[in-house]
Symmetry: C2
Subunit: 340 residues, 2 copies
């Protein structure tokens, strides 16, 4: 097992825990030979889910954790006081070197607080962001921060631009990923004070060759994917993601209603079903695994609260990629070289 | 002509000016008897557009303005120095009592600055917001601010909640419109510092019976229309609107591609075309006229830069409604009663 990457999975976090978490984990260890998983949570519940599922011996083990951090729990309080929770125990496995990465579909705030408090930030990283790969018309775009830091300062956004660049170079193999700043207009003088103060910092980084800055990324353009990385404060980033998902869900539900409105439409819908499915599959958030918290000593990936097995499997694959690409080491090297 | 509401229209603002502005104006005066329009802009260009169009005598007149405020112009500078622009001249017609309302598809910042500087705020209104009626699954929702104030304070959002309530009671005839605050989670402790500081103010207003506050309105829920009024700073509001429009446009373009991908899909698409068109018509932004700047002494409506005749006609109808409902007088009365 020595050369397998070891993932500590929070089996209790998310709307479909533990069933779908366990199922995704089993799918992952069945489909690739370079990964093993520690399922952390209520042992009996996890064992019940594992019944009737088969997987290579030794690729999954369970660590019992009787407590659970709920979505409504206060992140700092929960991490501090729920020492026997699946999340805290799983994070400690990473801290102690028993696991290489941590995944959870649970309380986002607790994932950030626990990641920073238990695993720890890379020295010099100020505010680790959630970085989410979102599907666009042209491919995908890394949006950061997506919610870890709802009030951010210009120097945070500047650092995220570099963390995002390292990520996209390593994971998506883009040599010079284009960085934009999420904005409400194309011109430099548009935007709120945070955007206006961040703009010159990003221009300087571009001049120093640290990033490729392409200016404002208008919210309207995000679904079309006009840049590779978009930086913003965590409040804005979360609004962007939620509007993207909500609008898509609402339009699809209206379309479905239209498809069923009369016999002619029902027939037509049957005929276009396949091509429509193919076209829209790319926009299924499940395809994208989760949002890594960048800038921690080990990888932490937050999945959607609604994550099912497919997303869990993807998140595990993401961890493997992240590990092989030594992204934490690259971030450390950048920060040392630039004395950030 | 005395009992017609007189609209001053900026004939030169927007991507399709002056043709589509003029066309929308002609449609409006042809379809209703209670409105007349002053088209302000380059006289010759406007006259050329009016050729071959017919309308009741005396319902349209032209005021020449040789200069134009461009989209890229700095709002404050433009309003101050371009005295002969269509926008400044049209706003002055309202100020001088020659017109009752102003509409423009031009530079948003200049509309706000000009509206405040030339027409003037109602005494006690701190920061007039853009209020945009956006289509949702359940009907429509008033989102404010949509971009007039990109950096806002809690007391601004609180005042907008009341302005929005007056608007929705008057125009949409909702007795107790539900007010939400745009947020990234349902719980009160979620959000950035602006949201957290605004929350208690809105709760107090609810307790005093001034508004009906229903708490957080998650961005994901906006397309579904879970409240009637959503307040936020102008940066966030603009991001919400642009993401809504951008996501819709992108998904529709992907669907169209799917519909044309093979013969079977093409046939199917023909069969569902009508019901799909009906279902999506409601989400056409053109149906919604424009965004009024609330809290000015007279009505100012900003249309999309891309506005065509249909939106212009709607914006004019909106002005009539606003005028009949005496919204400015209602806002004045509220502020006097509450010594805001």
């Amino acid at each position: 097992m020595a050369d397998r990457i070891r993932i500590a999975a929070d089996a209790m976090g998310g709307d479909h825990a533990p069933e779908q978490i366990v199922k995704g984990v089993v799918d992952a260890v069945n489909s690739r030979k370079d990964v093993s998983v520690i399922l952390v949570g209520r042992q009996k519940g996890i064992e019940a889910c594992l019944q009737n599922l088969s997987y290579p011996e030794g690729t999954i083990r369970i660590v019992d954790a009787p407590d659970v951090i709920a979505t409504a729990d206060h992140p700092v309080e929960a991490i501090r006081h729920k020492k026997d929770s699946s999340m805290v125990r799983a994070l400690q496995l990473v801290k102690n070197g028993e696991a290489d990465a941590f995944i959870s579909a649970g309380n986002s705030g607790a994932v950030v607080v626990g990641g920073q408090g238990i695993i720890g930030r890379i020295r010099g990283v100020q505010r680790p962001p959630f970085a989410s790969l979102i599907p666009t018309k042209r491919g995908s775009m890394l949006l950061l921060d997506c919610g870890a830091n709802v009030d951010a300062r210009p120097e945070h956004l500047a650092q995220w631009a570099k963390l995002g660049t390292i990520y996209m170079q390593s994971v998506m193999k883009l040599e010079h990923p284009k960085v934009g700043i999420v904005n409400i207009g194309a011109e430099e003088e548009k935007g709120n004070s945070l955007v206006k103060e961040t703009f010159p910092l990003l221009k300087e980084m571009d001049e120093r060759g640290e990033i490729t800055f392409t200016g404002s990324c208008e919210a309207r353009e995000i679904p079309f994917g006009t840049c590779d990385i978009a930086v913003c404060d965590g409040f804005t980033g979360n609004i962007v993601i939620k509007m993207y998902e909500g609008t898509g869900q609402m339009l699809l539900s209206e379309m479905k209603k239209a498809f069923l409105s009369d016999m002619r439409s029902k027939l037509g819908a049957l005929m276009i079903k396949n091509s429509l499915k193919t076209a829209l599959a790319r926009f299924d958030t499940e395809q994208y695994g989760g949002a890594p918290v960048l800038g921690l000593k080990s990888l932490v990936v937050k999945m959607h609260g609604s994550a099912k097995a497919g997303e869990v499997k993807r998140a595990i694959e993401q961890c493997v990629e992240f590990y092989h690409e030594e992204i934490a080491a690259k971030i450390t090297a950048y920060i040392e070289n630039n004395r950030l």
